[in-house]
Structure formats: structure tokens, C-alpha cells
């Protein structure tokens, strides 16, 4: 089974324990949401999964093998990362930025050997279209608004793992997202959420850090609750969406709204 497993993970920075004894499993074809307060270690865990964070204890098993044994170039073709904020000092055009992501896959392209320039442009165009960036494709990233830049980064990450074989499946690919919805307008949040669902059905594993509780409840298949660097709870959405547990994890009072079809949403109580 191609899962990501954290075994007794510890991360230390200075005297502070950012992560302490974290055990967690992430499944493919699922949207896993990491929830917690500021400083709970959510981003640290995500960066550790991306091999960007040195571990002080424990290990991460990536598809059954220790993460440290995977080469950077192999990992690059299996998972892509979108960070909270990545300021860009150079005036790349949106198209250039996204094609940098697609070029990661240049070595092994297409069903019949390396990808040809025409096919490359075709995939690029397709990714730009999916992320609603066609109108912005020649704009410099320095002139984009925060939400537009975030979409460009999402497209760049997506291009890195975009399926280039005939099946169009995402099996064995992972998308690591740190608050992808921040700065995105509601329309694009909704579009992208629907797309994430769709890609998950095609084999993609998504791990995301979120602060937006309603969105998390709408999207999540699996949930990991972190508190002060430790795992408070992990399980399926149905197991975790309990008002007492959430109030404990997020330190906030919640109000439940029940939908006509019986599903429940929690909103912070003002």
C-alpha cells in the first residue's frame, strides 16, 4: 500500500519541541486535513513530510521506504508542495512559473519516450486552463494579486505531478498544501475543492493544513488534530467531527448547524 507513515516523529528547534512523538498515517485517494492552533506544529509536519525538515527523532516511511532513502529527483516526481507564502523577487511570467513545474517531469514523459515540445505546450495549456490562469498566463508574477499568485503556485505544483500517461491517473502522487485557500476568492476555492475531490478519485493523495473549519469539514476524508506538537486525535471525518474534541483541539466554542440532509457543520460561536 502506497501510504505515508510517521513513526514517533520528533522535531526540535533550539530548546523548543515543535513535534513530539507524532504517529500518523496518510492514505492515498484521500483528502487528509491537519487541524490545530497556531504553533501546533502543522506546517512543521507538512515540511517534514516534504523532506524539508530535519528530524530529531523517529522516521517517515514513504511508500514503505524511509523518506531519507528517496532521492530528491524521485520525490520531485511523486509529490508537490505549495507553501503559505512564497514571495518571488524575479518577474517570471505565470506561464514560465508553471512550466518550471512541468519540466520536473521532463525525463520520463509521455507513453512513448520523452515528451515533445508540442505535447509539452499542450499539457501546459491544459493545466493553465484548469487553474483558470489562461487570461493571466503572460502576466508577470510581480503584478499578480495574492490570490492570483497562490493560484499560479497551485498550478506550478500541479504541473509537477500532472499525469502524462494515457490513463490520466494520479496513482502514487501526492499534493502537500499549506493553507491553499488563503487569499483565494470563494469562487476559486470552490472550483479547486471540487477538482481536488475529482483528482483524489483518480488516485491522488492530498495532505493539507487548514484553518478554515467549514471548508475542512466539507473536504476532509481523514483528519489529524495536532495540539502543542502532539497528536490529539487521528481518524476518519466521522470520528473526528465531534464538538468536544474539536473544542479541545482548537480552544474555541463551536455552534452546530444541521443541514436538511442530516449533515452537520460547526461554526465558531461569537
Amino acid at each position: 500500500m502506497k501510504t505515508l507513515a510517521c513513526r514517533n516523529l520528533g522535531v526540535q528547534r533550539g530548546a523548543a519541541l515543535l513535534l513530539d512523538g507524532v504517529n500518523a498515517d496518510f492514505l492515498p485517494e484521500r483528502i487528509s486535513v491537519i487541524l490545530g492552533q497556531n504553533g501546533a506544529g502543522k506546517s512543521t509536519l507538512l515540511q517534514a513530510l516534504a523532506k524539508n525538515q530535519a528530524l530529531s527523532a523517529g522516521e517517515i516511511l514513504w511508500h514503505g521506504q524511509p523518506l531519507v532513502q528517496w532521492s530528491w529527483s524521485d520525490l520531485a516526481k511523486m509529490r508537490a508542495l505549495v507553501e503559505q507564502q512564497t514571495p518571488l523577487p524575479f518577474a517570471f511570467s505565470v506561464r514560465q512559473l508553471v512550466s518550471l513545474g512541468l519540466e520536473v517531469q521532463r525525463a520520463e514523459m509521455g507513453p512513448s519516450g520523452p515528451l515533445l515540445p508540442a505535447a509539452f505546450q499542450g499539457y501546459l495549456q491544459e493545466i493553465l486552463r484548469v487553474c483558470d490562469l489562461l487570461a493571466l498566463s503572460e502576466r508577470s508574477v510581480l503584478t499578480l494579486s495574492g490570490g492570483e499568485l497562490k493560484r499560479a503556485h497551485l498550478a506550478r505544483a500541479l504541473a509537477q505531478i500532472w499525469p502524462l500517461d494515457a490513463s490520466g491517473q494520479f496513482h502514487g502522487k501526492w499534493l502537500l498544501l499549506d493553507e491553499w485557500n488563503v487569499a483565494l476568492d470563494v469562487h476559486h476555492q470552490q472550483c479547486f475543492a471540487v477538482l481536488l475531490r475529482q483528482w483524489c478519485a483518480q488516485g491522488l493523495g492530498v495532505i493539507m493544513v487548514l484553518h478554515d473549519l467549514p471548508l475542512a469539514m466539507q473536504l476532509a476524508d481523514e483528519v489529524l488534530l495536532l495540539k502543542q506538537g502532539r497528536v490529539l486525535a487521528q481518524g476518519t471525518a466521522a470520528e473526528i467531527w465531534q464538538p468536544l474534541l474539536l473544542q479541545e483541539a482548537l480552544q474555541t466554542r463551536l455552534e452546530a448547524f444541521t443541514h436538511a440532509d442530516g449533515s452537520t457543520l460547526f461554526l465558531p460561536k461569537l
Binding site: 516534504a50 520525490l75 520531485a76 508542495l81 512564497t86 518571488l88 524575479f90 519540466e103 520536473v104 515540445p117
Partner: protein, 352 residues
Amino acid sequence: MVSTRNERRAFKCDPFMSVSILSHKWRLALLGISLVSVSFAHLFLSNTAWDWATLGSPERWQHHAFILWEFRLPRWLLAMTVGAGLAVAGVALQALFRNPLAEPGLVGVASSSAFGAVSIMVLGAWWWQEVSWWQIGGAAFVFGLLMTGFIYRLATRHGQTDVALMLLAGVAINALMGAGTQLLLSVADLVQLRSVTFWLMGSLANHGWTPVLAVSGVMVLATLGLWRLVQHMNAFVLGDNIARSMGYPSQGFKAQVMILSALMVSSAVALVGVIGFVGLVVPHLVRLWVGVDHRLVLPLSAIGGALLLVSADWLARTLLYPLELPIGLLMALVGAPFFLIMLLKQRGRWQT
């Protein structure tokens, strides 16, 4: 999948596939033609111009050939390679600092190299009878490399460069190294004082073939070394974490960029003194022209730097004939206002 034979060929000759310098034929042609014509002017036109009418007589021809071979040709080659090298070092440092304002002169690498060179010129006399050019170059390299690492440490934290800190640290280091150089000059004897002062003014003239070829070799090799890293530079400027997640770990990359750019700057400084702003002006103009993709910026900056320094050297030689303007002075006259404009432009971007 439909593809023409042309596309197949385009892919084969292009290691990075979707962007190739070779597909920008008219840009290369334009720069090439400019470089050839400026080189022609540099080699053959000046106030002591070729007397084309007398070329038929053998002794005139010999005279011209001597001047060409012993003076103009090494000077032209030096201007080309130093210009290209400084521009490429600028591109590399800008990628390393993730900022288009990083420049060997501004961040203090050049002045540190100069201090290293002067210290071996003055203090080296205590150990050796005569200090040779490669010892000067070695000292310049060590100081240049140390200072690149030091400024990088100082100005960059968690993969983000603090631009203001970088430029201010550059000011402090330039002041410190300038003072150190003056201090060395005050303990130097008269012969050393004369040679160091002459060297500090910087000139591309009167260098023998051996050091010129050595510096050219260093420039060509270092440029090729950095050329291998262009795709890595593209990923690196997106941020440490993003670059790693795209399969480009940054550790070896940083060291290579520091060593190669310090090598280029210090070998240029050791031979011709400090020539500022080439590494700032050329990459900036190239980016305005072709965008920021390093696969285009690096090679075009190399050609552009060669073009700029050959023309500047030609002007320095002919503008105030028979006086010769120091080339460093001429570049500062052009480059400093240019830098101010860039600074104001960035400032405008920060405010909006």
C-alpha cells in the same frame, strides 16, 4: 501525438527542453553582430588608426601586426572575458541572494578581493622577492570567497534575503576594505605604493598574454560551470523549500555558485582592478529584453557583458585621446545612476 521533424530536432539539441537559447536565433544574431562590429572598432579604429593606404608596404604591415598582436588583441580578449565574467557573476549572485540588486561591487566581494590583492602586493614582499600575478589572484580569490559567504550568512535567514541588510552590509564592507587598503598603502614603500596605486585605478591595457589567457580560461570554465546550474537557479529563486520539493537540493548548489562567482570576480579584480556595475547593468537589461529565465539570462548576459566592456574600453581609449579614462571610472559614471533608477523602481513596487 503529432510532431514535426523540426520539433524532434529542437528537443534533441536542447538539454532543458522547453526553453533554449538556440531558439532565440535573432537575439543571438543581433548581439553577435554588435559584438563583431564593436570588436572591429576596438581592434582597428582609434586615434592611431590603421593607415589602410600603406598596408601594401611590408614594414608598415609588420608594424601594425606587432601592435595588433602584442597590445590590441590581448586587451580585446581581456575586455571580452572580464565583461562576460563579471556579468555572469552578477547573474549567479543575484540568483543566490534571490535579488536583482545583488552585484559583486555593491555587496563588497570586489573590494574584498582588491584588499586581498593589495595585502599580498604589500605584505608579500616580506616573504618573496617579487609577487607574481597568480599569488595576487589567489589572495584575491580567498578574500572574495570568504566575503561572499560572510555576506550571505549575514543577509539571508530562512532562505529569505533582507535586501536592505545586504546593501548596507555591502556599504560597511566596502568602507572597511577601503580603509584596510589605505592602511596597507600607508605602510608600503615607495615602489609598492606606485605599483599598487597604478593597479588600483584599473586598466585593461598592457597585460601580457599569459595572465590574459589564464584569466580568460578561468572565466570560460567558471561560466560553463554556472551554465550547468541554470535550471537549478530557476528553481532556487522560488525559495529553498520549493526548490527542494522540485528536486533541487540547495546545499551543493550554494557552495558552487559562491566559489565560481568569487573565482570570476577575484580573477578579474586581480588583473584589472575593480570594475563595478557590469554585473548589475547587463543582467538587468537582459531581463527586460528576454524575461527572467536563467537559461536565457545567463548566456545572453555573457555576450552582453563582453559587448559592454569592449565598447566601454574602446570609448575609454578614444574619448579623451591622448588621455585614457580608467575603465572602472567610466563604468561607475554609467552604472551608478542606473543603480539609483533601479532602486527607485523597486521602491515604487514595494509601496504599491
